[in-house]
């Protein structure tokens, strides 16, 4: 199985996402923002970072790059796409997921080990979790505040499109403590925290067992392998 990781100018966590894909047992394929070729991958990760410096709006310029034309088409055709942090912002700017992500309500960048509750365990990227499962994933961003109009909020809540919710503390003022979303098809998932930074003992978040031993993030990547097998 091949999972593509797109590099935009200013992507930062692209190599980390590739490492996560490899550790989950898949082949990581590096995709370039300026190309129209998805190289036959079975799933795509839009990684974290500051594409184009996040200068206009986070993800806005990247969402209009050549490769995104293909990503949008493929996503609409059911290909699994995961947007992490900046990738989530790109998905929102590309209208593959609803709402918008704006400056954190406290105004600053924040990096912390964040507890989350899994709200939807039937997407391509979350099927290895169970609903209600509590996981810890590093979060690091300045613009992760999710906003959306009241009507859409009601709809996505009602239709189970909230994939993850913040526990303990809402680190950015997101509506309804929303940390991540899925589309109606369950193939497109976006979230602000970084699963690719909780995949390897020694380099993840602290856990009750030992320092930096958290590996909850690997399940995102093993889930997509599972769903690809199921589809095959």
């Amino acid at each position: 199985m091949k999972v593509g990781v797109v590099t935009f100018p200013g992507s930062l966590d692209d190599r980390d996402a590739q490492r996560a894909v490899r550790r989950a047992g898949a082949e990581a394929v590096s995709l370039w923002h300026g190309s129209h070729d998805l190289e036959g991958v079975d799933a795509i990760v839009l990684p974290g970072g500051f594409s184009y410096g996040d200068y206009l709006r986070c993800g806005a310029i990247a969402a209009r790059s050549p490769i995104m034309t293909e990503v949008i088409a493929a996503a609409n055709a059911g290909l699994p796409v995961l947007g992490i942090c900046n990738g989530f912002q790109i998905l929102v700017e590309a209208h593959l997921l609803p709402g918008g992500l704006i400056r954190n309500n406290h105004g600053d960048f924040v990096c912390r080990d964040q507890r989350l509750r899994v709200e939807n365990a039937s997407t391509a990227w979350t099927n290895g979790f169970t609903v209600g499962q509590e996981i810890t994933i590093p979060l690091k961003n300045a613009e992760g505040g999710f906003i959306v109009d009241a009507e859409t909020l009601k709809r996505i809540e009602g239709e189970g499109q909230v994939a993850f919710r913040y526990l303990d503390v809402n680190p950015n003022g997101s509506l309804d403590d929303i940390a991540g979303l899925t589309n109606a098809g369950g193939n497109v998932v976006g979230l602000m925290p970084h699963p690719e930074h909780a995949i390897e003992p020694g380099f993840g978040p602290d856990t009750p067992d030992a320092m930096r031993s958290g590996t909850d993030g690997i399940t995102f990547f093993t889930s997509v392998l599972q769903s690809a097998l199921a589809r095959a």
């Binding site: 100018p9 200013g10 930062l12 966590d13 190599r15 980390d16 490492r19 300026g34 974290g48 970072g49 500051f50 184009y52 410096g53 996040d54 200068y55 406290h106 600053d108 960048f109 924040v110 990096c111 912390r112 080990d113 590093p138 690091k140 300045a142 303990d168 503390v169 680190p171 970084h194 690719e196 930074h197 995949i199 390897e200 003992p201 020694g202 380099f203 602290d206 856990t207 009750p208 067992d209 030992a210 320092m211 930096r212 031993s213």
Partner: protein, 789 residues
């Protein structure tokens, strides 16, 4: 002849023309030597170049004679792993397995006072470009910061600006922040110190030096366009007091664009990997003046460039302004003609604007043209290398003896539990010892996925090789209070502390970089402080057997006539063969034995206790014990290697008491401490045991099953060791305590509240504090597994 251009021909024709050398920061005799070198008056372009390159900031004219010691006081042992030593953009150290590491620390103090956000941001940008120019991939940053009083209104402007500037730039570059310092002292009120460190890694074969060799090779400028920002920055901002601000019609500040720099990093790495460049030089202070003259001096000595080819952001810039502009995110490369096409293909791929300015020659002259006229014709070495060198007068400060005589021993040392408890709470809530999450939670510590240690551990640690686990640890330290009392000793104590902070992680210290922040070199007392600090550092490095690989000097840090405390910031790098064996600074388990390594003396002068409890600074700083530091580091590395340590934390500001508080709060596990044996052995009182700042001391947590082995190790190495307590998670649900037997007990909750309140009170909330006052806590079952996989 073009009337608007001050060409060489014009200069020859108008020898008597008055030139504004003084406004550019040159002294009359310096101006005269430029005339002597050239045999005529300089053109205005040449004057611009000489003035920035001969500034204190670029030429090190006051410090050079002293800095030589770093190269002279070395043993063969110290240089055997040094691939590149002092004098290059950054030193390079062989760390084994074919890997090399380059690191350097640099100041951006004055710009950060004027515009804290942009000043600090561009400080990070500048040091990272130094690392790139060596052929390395930058992998982490650190920041050593000093501000005025925590409650001064201007600190409320400067600190948040500086922190968000660093956060903005480094986070956007994708470099984890793995440590630093945040100090407050009124002495830095109008002169904050912003020292940024960057570290990069490379394979041995990827090492590149910036020099212009090979006649006919192209000189290429790439990256951001050149604009009018930061003109005069090098000479006026970085090496003069604010009161003396010179005339600047262009803005003195520079605006950073981390996105442009991130793209530049990837672009440069691809150029190096494709073997498309001979060398790359970063553009920092003095911009094109510096890059052309340094590249030429380090190469075959000749270069011909046309300024008309420089891509401008502002078309109204004059030639002199182009030469002096400090626009950020620019690089200059030397490219062989047949590789130029490939070079341009890579810069085009990354959308990086590029222009060919000229080529390397064998003339020995740096010739710069503009609008068809020659405006610079110089021997580049006279600009970049053979600048003025001063042996500035020194004088032993008149106030020194009285200061040293005023010891903190005059203060009563209470021994009752209630007072000691109170003093401990005051200390850990004091500005310098309080929890710094307000700062560090704004920094990305995860990006790149190789961070093995970061805040709040004693050193940051980065994995270099994913297969073997080979890694490096880094710490920065300085204590301006100690250095004020004795600059020689103060520099050694900074070195010792950074060294120890690296050693406690299990890494072996191997190299040093430093950033020497001082007042005006024209003040003989400051010059004395400087000379003593350099001597102390050089002697200390020789004694420890680790070389200084590079660094930076920042003079003129003063408000009016009052210089800052001498502040030699020392960065130490260490190597560890498997980061999986790293040791954190906090207890991880209940029931571990706590051992204090080293001995404690009555050394309270200049201590946090004297400063915080008594508002006092006087006497003589603690005695450095460098050979013991060395022995201690070897002991720690051996113990870590054998897996005997669950935690190790060095003792520094605030002594044993704050060390046990830090170590307890790290994972929310408490401890019971007893002092009797220590008091008896070292002949000290309880207050001295708790708050003295004697060096070469570390507290370690040893799992019971490793006790025998550990003690045998200490005995074998003849290092003083005393069992002073045991870690204790506390009864189920009750939360843990820190108990100092027969004196006092404080709950971790109360300690955490005291430690966290200070920064929050002055700068605002920290995300997550309210939710987790009980601590994030590792609550591992006894006998749980080790850190590594």
């Amino acid at each position: 002849m073009n009337a608007l251009v001050d060409s060489v021909a014009t200069a020859e024709a108008t020898p008597e023309k008055e030139q504004p050398y003084a406004a550019l920061g040159l002294k009359a005799d310096e101006y005269q030597s430029i005339r002597d070198i050239l045999g005529r008056r300089p053109t205005s372009g040449e004057l611009a170049m000489y003035s920035v390159m001969w500034s204190e900031h670029c030429s090190y004219k006051s410090s050079k004679v002293w800095l030589r010691q770093f190269g002279e006081k070395v043993s063969p042992e110290m240089t055997k792993n040094l691939m590149v030593g002092m004098g290059e953009n950054a030193g390079v150290v062989d760390i084994g397995e074919g890997w090399a590491v380059t690191f350097k620390i640099e100041s951006h103090n004055h710009p950060s006072y004027i515009e804290p956000f942009q000043g600090a941001a561009t400080g990070v940008g500048g040091i990272v470009r130094d690392i790139i120019s060596m052929g390395a991939r930058p992998v982490a940053v650190m920041d050593a910061l000093r501000f005025g009083a925590i409650d001064h209104p201007d600190t409320a402007r400067v600190l948040p600006g500086v922190v968000s500037g660093i956060s903005f730039y480094a986070n956007c570059l994708g470099l984890p922040n793995i440590g630093g310092e945040t100090w407050f002292d009124p002495i830095y009120q109008a002169n904050p110190l912003v020292n940024a460190l960057a570290v990069g890694v490379l394979r041995h074969e990827d090492l590149h030096l910036a020099n212009a060799k090979g006649a006919g090779n192209k000189v290429v400028l790439f990256g951001a366009r050149t604009g009018g920002d930061g003109i005069g920055g090098a000479s006026i901002l970085a090496s003069d007091t604010f009161s003396a601000g010179g005339p600047t019609k262009r803005p003195a500040v520079q605006v950073g664009d981390p996105f442009a720099e991130k793209v530049l990093i990837e672009c440069c790495l691809e150029l190096f990997a494709g073997d498309l460049v001979k060398g790359i030089q970063d553009l920092g202070a003095a911009g094109i003046s510096c890059a052309t003259s340094e590249l030429a001096s380090n190469g075959d000595g000749g270069m011909q460039v046309s300024l008309d080819e420089v891509l401008l952001r502002d078309p109204t810039l004059t030639a002199e302004e182009i030469l002096m502009s400090e626009s950020q995110e620019r690089m200059m490369a030397i490219v062989e003609p047949d590789k130029l096409e490939g070079f341009l293909a890579v810069t085009r791929k990354w959308d990086v604007e590029t222009s060919v300015l000229g080529e390397v020659t064998e003339t020995g002259r740096l010739i710069i043209t503009w609008h068809g006229e020659t405006i610079v014709d110089v021997d580049p070495r006279t600009v970049a290398v053979d600048g003025p060198v001063y042996n500035r007068p020194l004088s032993y400060p008149t106030w020194m003896d009285a200061l040293n005589a005023d010891s903190a021993e005059k203060f009563l040392r209470p021994s009752d539990g209630a007072t000691l408890r109170e003093q401990l709470l005051t200390l850990i809530g004091s500005a310098n010892l309080a929890d710094k999450s307000w700062v560090t939670s704004q920094y990305d510590r995860y990006v790149m996925g190789n961070t093995a240690l970061s805040y709040p551990d004693d050193a940051g640690m980065i994995r270099v090789d994913e297969e073997s686990g080979l890694g490096v640890a880094l710490a920065t330290d300085a204590n301006g209070r100690y250095a004020y009392l004795d600059p020689y000793v103060g520099a050694q104590l900074a070195l010792a502390e950074a060294y120890r902070n690296v050693a406690v992680t299990g890494a072996t210290p191997v190299a040093v970089s430093d950033c020497l922040n001082f007042g005006s070199p024209e003040n003989p007392e400051v010059m004395w402080q400087f000379s003593r600090a350099v001597e102390g550092l050089a002697d200390g490095c020789l004694e420890l057997g680790i070389p200084v690989t590079g660094g930076n000097v920042s003079f003129y840090n003063q408000t009016g006539d009052v210089p800052i405390h001498p502040t030699p910031v020392v960065a130490v790098m260490g190597v560890i063969d498997d980061v999986g064996r790293r040791v954190p600074s906090g207890w991880q388990d209940s029931g571990d034995n706590l051992y204090l390594l080293g001995s404690t003396h009555l050394e309270l002068d200049g201590s946090a206790w004297a400063g915080v409890i008594h508002g006092h600074l006087g006497g003589k700083p603690p005695k450095p014990h460098l050979t013991r530091e060395h022995d201690l580091a070897e002991l720690l590395s051996a113990a870590a290697h054998e897996g005997l340590l669950n935690a190790a934390h060095d003792l520094s500001d605030g002594g044993l008491a704050t060390a046990v508080v830090d170590a307890s709060l790290r994972f929310g596990i408490g401890a019971r401490i007893w002092l009797d044996e220590l008091l008896e052995r070292d002949q000290i009182d309880p207050l001295t045991a708790l708050f003295s700042e004697s060096g070469a001391r570390v507290i370690v947590a040893v799992p019971r099953e490793e006790d025998v082995k550990f003690l045998r190790l200490c005995e074998g190495r003849n290092y003083p060791v005393a069992r002073i307590g045991v870690t204790d998670r506390g009864a189920d649900g009750a939360g843990a305590d820190l108990e100092v037997q027969d004196l006092f007990t404080i709950s971790l909750k109360e300690l955490r509240t005291a430690s966290r309140a200070t920064m929050v009170e002055h700068f605002g909330a920290v995300v997550g504090y309210a939710a987790d006052l009980s601590g994030s806590g590792i609550h591992r079952a006894p006998g749980g597994g080790r850190i590594s996989e």
